[in-house]
């Protein structure tokens, strides 16, 4: 039954809670309320409903109170005197002092927090710089929105950045949407290219060059590389003109303007420098030499090089893509096995388009993870330490601090901390930048280019870290009731917070993931190193071939072999493990006529197999004594299987229309790093093919007296080809370079893993310290009652060990999945054993055990008399 009197009493009591509502005011309001209710009841409304309606219309106590307060105060938006101001300047100073005092008093915890945040931020800064650089490739190009790389999607889904030379002209003829096209014929990659410049006085400057590119006339209207000298419009007008990149120009001409100077190509052909360009470091294509394609190549359907097209800005990309998708199958004269889909890749995506984007993602995620670990550590330590802040919170609340103020205070502390950490991180990043640049092969800088944007980003990052790290402690601490906070400073410190468990387990999960990844990468590298490649490259010298040596190769070889330290001499298209030339122009008896074979080929000379110590599975090597061998072939085991030849030796084989016999089957050897599968391969020494293709001479020497041998070889090469530079180097370095990217990845992951473990250990060190501190009395009592030091250590470390074990259980499947996927990218790979994960787990456990045991030991050996007197 509704009791109006009681309801009104309650209502009055509530109004009375507001300081500005005096008794008289309330009485007046009460009369009004009663009049209103009477009126409504007279109209037939039930009493209870009338009361509720009227009371609701009158509003809540603080609203009415504020109105009354405003009526009595001269200031228009006056803050009621009983409400704390939003900002008290004196208190701000006090907060600052308290923060500093806390930091000083708890140097240990403070330093852990600071260094953790600083390390996390430093990594974040460095990765941000790297990611920004990666994402900024080719953005400087004026035509970037209309410029595309032509791509081919193979039937197996692989994306190929190269298209046949004849395809772009065919497309341009058919589709007016293509305004310009340019093929990049990378001649420097398939034949020896040398340039020489004869100054008026002084010796000739000669160099071999790899980045020599033949392009179509429209090249510079597509790629807006800035010209230092010369003019982009006319630079390629003359077929004998060449445009050089500034760094290459410096090698030949020094600092002056070389436009109009004569540069001799392979000692045969004079070119005139018509321009010098600067290519920014973040261009995916950085040509050193550019000259016109002498041949339209409209009938050449081989593909080995990239081509670019400039589209009309009005073209709808999606529909144009659809139009050209089938153009390769349509135009190519041969029958293709399956559909090869032609596509377009925007120029700004080319750099990241072939697998690199994954790394950008992975590193960004790692940056976020490491920063998250650092933030979580801050939260943990701040809340763990909050026991000591309890009294402060209580007292502040008693003298009138609102929750909002306390939240501001603690957030402010976290922001101060993150600002300090950012300062440290910046210093750390500057220190580490040279190493990062060394590792990534970039020239990243902190203070260049878009300064304000970067500064704003870093400022935002710092603020975000401060707010994220500070939010949890701020809300948790400020929520405490003053009575609890004052009664016992430790009322909730012994509570095992779920957040703490999750965060410790979480950060160890991340650390273990990184450790396991690092171990896998190193194991794969180890596998590379120890797996027999099938050929030996030790003490093999690689000498650049040139036209002069070509003329005198036989006598050069003879002279070389007179030296007792020279064991064998051969020449070939490329280093056997590096060459990747494929053809379909091979025929053999019993070949399915519909099959378009894909076979790797090697154009070489006598003694190749001997020089590289390759073994034969059947038959024999090429023999100089048998002139007929010039037209014979050697194949590898894979080819024998591919061709379905049971007795390959003696069988007929046709290579590029030249018929010969298979004289030997060489054992399979590995190619271009273990990413690639061993393919069927044919070796030919036919002089018809060797002429332009040979790029290197390989000389196997005996290990003793190397410097002398090297000198003798250089001297002879210079004598035989005085008009060419001499370039000779041992191959071992080359094989090392094969795994450069994996090695780099290994180093980067090691750094990340170390850092993650370091930050996690800092966190656990802090937590262990506080857990030991909280249990000081308990430990004292236990010791007095006869507990041993190991017993106490076990007691204190049990919990943490369990957390780390749990982290292992979570991390293993994720690491297994991720590494399984990574390894799938290698044609030849190591196995993912359980031992690897166990090792990662053990490392994490040891890393965690160190700080825990250290803290526990400190607590356990403390004198119980002192610890019991503590507090």
């Amino acid at each position: 039954m509704f009791d109006l009197e009681k309801a009104v009493r309650e209502w009055k009591k509530e109004l009375g809670s507001n300081p500005s509502l005096e008794a008289g005011f309330i009485a007046e309001l009460e009369e009004s309320l009663r009049d209103d209710i009477e009126e409504l009841v007279r109209q037939g409304m039930p009493e209870e409903q009338a009361f509720r309606q009227v009371a609701a219309e009158m509003g809540r106590a603080d609203a009415i109170g504020a109105e009354f307060h405003r009526a009595y105060t001269p200031r228009r938006s006056g803050r009621p005197s009983w409400r704390a101001p939003r900002f008290v300047p004196d208190l701000a100073w006090d907060y600052f002092r308290v923060a500093l005092r806390k930091f000083k008093r708890q140097k240990f915890g403070g330093l852990i927090n600071l260094s953790g945040l600083a390390a996390g931020l430093a990594v974040c800064i460095l990765i941000s710089l790297w990611v920004r650089d990666e994402l900024g490739y080719d953005k400087f190009l004026a035509n970037r929105d209309q410029l595309f790389l032509l791509t081919i999607e193979h039937p197996n889904g692989a994306l190929d950045p190269n298209v046949p030379y004849a395809l772009p002209p065919a497309l341009a003829r058919e589709y007016p949407e293509i305004r310009q096209y340019s093929r990049i014929y990378r001649i420097g990659l398939i034949t020896t290219c040398s340039f020489s410049f004869q100054p008026e006085n002084g010796p000739r400057v000669m160099h071999y060059e790899d980045s020599v590119n033949l392009v179509d006339a429209g090249f510079f209207s597509m790629f807006s590389f800035p010209f230092i000298h010369g003019d982009p419009g006319s630079a390629l007008r003359d077929p004998d003109s060449v445009v050089i990149r500034d760094e290459a120009a410096r090698k030949y001409f020094g600092e002056g303007n070389p436009v109009g100077r004569k540069l001799t190509f392979n000692n045969r052909h004079d070119l005139v420098v018509s321009g010098v360009i600067h290519v920014p470091a973040n261009a995916h294509f950085r040509p050193d030499f550019i000259t016109l394609l002498p041949n339209p190549l409209t009938g050449d359907w081989n593909w080995r090089d990239p081509s670019y097209v400039l589209l009309d800005p009005k073209v709808s990309l999606a529909s144009f893509k659809e139009k050209i998708a089938g153009s390769l199958n349509k135009n190519i004269p041969q029958q293709l096995p399956g559909t090869f889909k032609v596509g377009l890749l925007p120029i700004t995506k080319v750099h990241l388009g072939f697998g690199r984007l994954t790394y950008v993602y992975i590193f960004s995620i790692i940056a976020v993870f490491i920063l998250a670990i650092a933030c979580v550590n801050y939260m943990n330590l701040a809340t763990a330490r909050s026991g000591s802040r309890g009294r402060e919170v209580g007292l502040r609340k008693v003298v009138g601090a609102g929750r909002g103020q306390l939240i501001h205070q603690f957030l402010g502390e976290a922001l101060l901390m993150s600002a300090l950490a950012f300062g440290l991180a910046l210093a750390l990043a500057i220190l580490l930048l040279p190493f990062v640049n060394n590792l990534t092969g970039k020239a990243l800088t902190l203070f260049s280019g878009s300064g304000p944007v970067l500064a704003a980003y870093f400022l935002g990052l710092t603020a975000l870290v401060g707010i994220v790290a500070g939010s949890y402690p701020a809300f948790l601490l400020s929520a405490r009731r003053p009575v609890d906070a004052l009664r016992s400073a430790s009322s909730f410190r012994s509570r095992r917070s779920l957040f703490r468990v999750v965060s410790v387990v979480g950060q160890f999960t991340i650390s273990i993931l990184l450790i396991a990844s690092t171990l896998t990468i190193f194991r794969q590298l180890q596998y590379f190193r120890t797996r027999p490649l099938g050929l030996r490259t030790e003490h093999v010298l690689q000498v650049r071939y040139n036209p002069s040596l070509l003329q005198n190769f036989e006598s050069f070889k003879r002279e070389m072999l007179l030296n007792p330290r020279v064991l064998s001499v051969t020449r070939s298209q490329d280093v056997p493990y590096n060459e990747d030339y494929k053809t379909s122009g091979v025929e053999w008896d019993g070949k399915d006529p519909a099959l378009m074979p894909l076979i790797r080929y090697s154009i070489t000379d006598f003694d190749l197999f001997e020089t590289f110590g390759m073994e034969f599975a059947a038959g024999r090597s090429f023999s100089a004594e048998l002139p007929g061998d010039r037209v014979n072939y050697v194949i590898n085991e894979k080819a024998a299987g591919y061709m379905g030849l049971k007795e390959p030796v003696g069988q007929r084989l046709k290579f590029w229309g030249q018929e010969g016999r298979i004289i030997g089957v060489v054992k399979d050897y590995h190619h271009v790093s273990l990413h690639r599968e061993i393919l069927p391969q044919v070796f030919t020494i036919n002089p018809r093919f060797t002429a332009g293709a040979i790029k290197f001479i390989f000389i196997k020497v005996s290990p003793d007296g190397l410097p002398g041998t090297l000198r003798a070889i250089r001297e002879a090469a210079a004598r035989y080809a005085p008009d060419y530079p001499v370039e000779a180097a041992f191959l071992d370095r080359g094989t090392a370079a094969l795994y450069e990217s994996e090695k780099r990845l290994g180093k980067i992951f090691t750094a990340f893993a170390l850092l993650a473990v370091f930050i996690s250990c800092l966190g656990i060190l802090g937590l262990a310290a506080y857990s030991a501190e909280q249990r000081t009395k308990e430990i004292g009592v236990r010791k007095v009652l006869g507990s041993s030091v190991p017993g106490i250590i076990a007691l204190l470390s049990r919990q943490f060990s369990l957390w780390v074990l749990a982290a292992n259980l979570i991390a293993w499947p994720i690491a297994y999945y991720a590494m399984h996927r990574w390894l799938r990218g290698f044609a030849y790979r190591t196995v993912l054993g359980l031992d690897l994960f166990v090792a990662a787990g053990l490392i994490s456990l040891f890393a965690a055990a160190f700080p825990i045991v250290y803290q526990s030991l400190k607590a356990a050996v403390a004198d119980p008399v002192k610890t019991l007197r503590y507090e």
Partner: protein, 112 residues
């Protein structure tokens, strides 16, 4: 719906005018205003009472407690001498606004 600002501006002259003839109390004031304006000027008690207090503090009205017929205490408000002067001043101001508006409305009407 009359805007917040207009209501706020007109509250003072309306209350002063209401109290010109006879003293009154809060509930009655609300009632009268609702009657006169046909409910178009919606005042709430939460707004009226603090305003009455402000007028009293400013010395335009004063109040006294009286016992009503039903034996209930009621706080009555009556106009002071200062309040009368203020009312006259307000009236003058409102008339000038009214005149100004009147002539402008005429123009608006002509151009329509």
């Amino acid at each position: 719906m009359i805007s917040k600002h207009l209501i706020a501006a007109s509250t003072k002259p309306i209350i002063l005018a209401l109290l010109y003839k006879e003293e009154s109390y809060g509930y009655q004031i609300l009632h009268r205003i609702r009657q006169v304006t046909g409910g178009r000027l919606a005042w709430s008690s939460a707004m009226l009472y603090p305003f009455l207090h402000r007028l009293e503090k400013d010395g335009f009205i004063r109040s006294k407690w009286k016992i009503s017929g039903a034996g209930r205490m009621r706080k009555y408000y009556l106009l002071t001498e200062r309040g009368r002067k203020e009312l006259a001043a307000e009236k003058e101001q409102w008339f000038s606004v009214h005149d100004a508006l009147q002539s402008f409305w005429a123009e608006v009407g002509a151009s329509d």
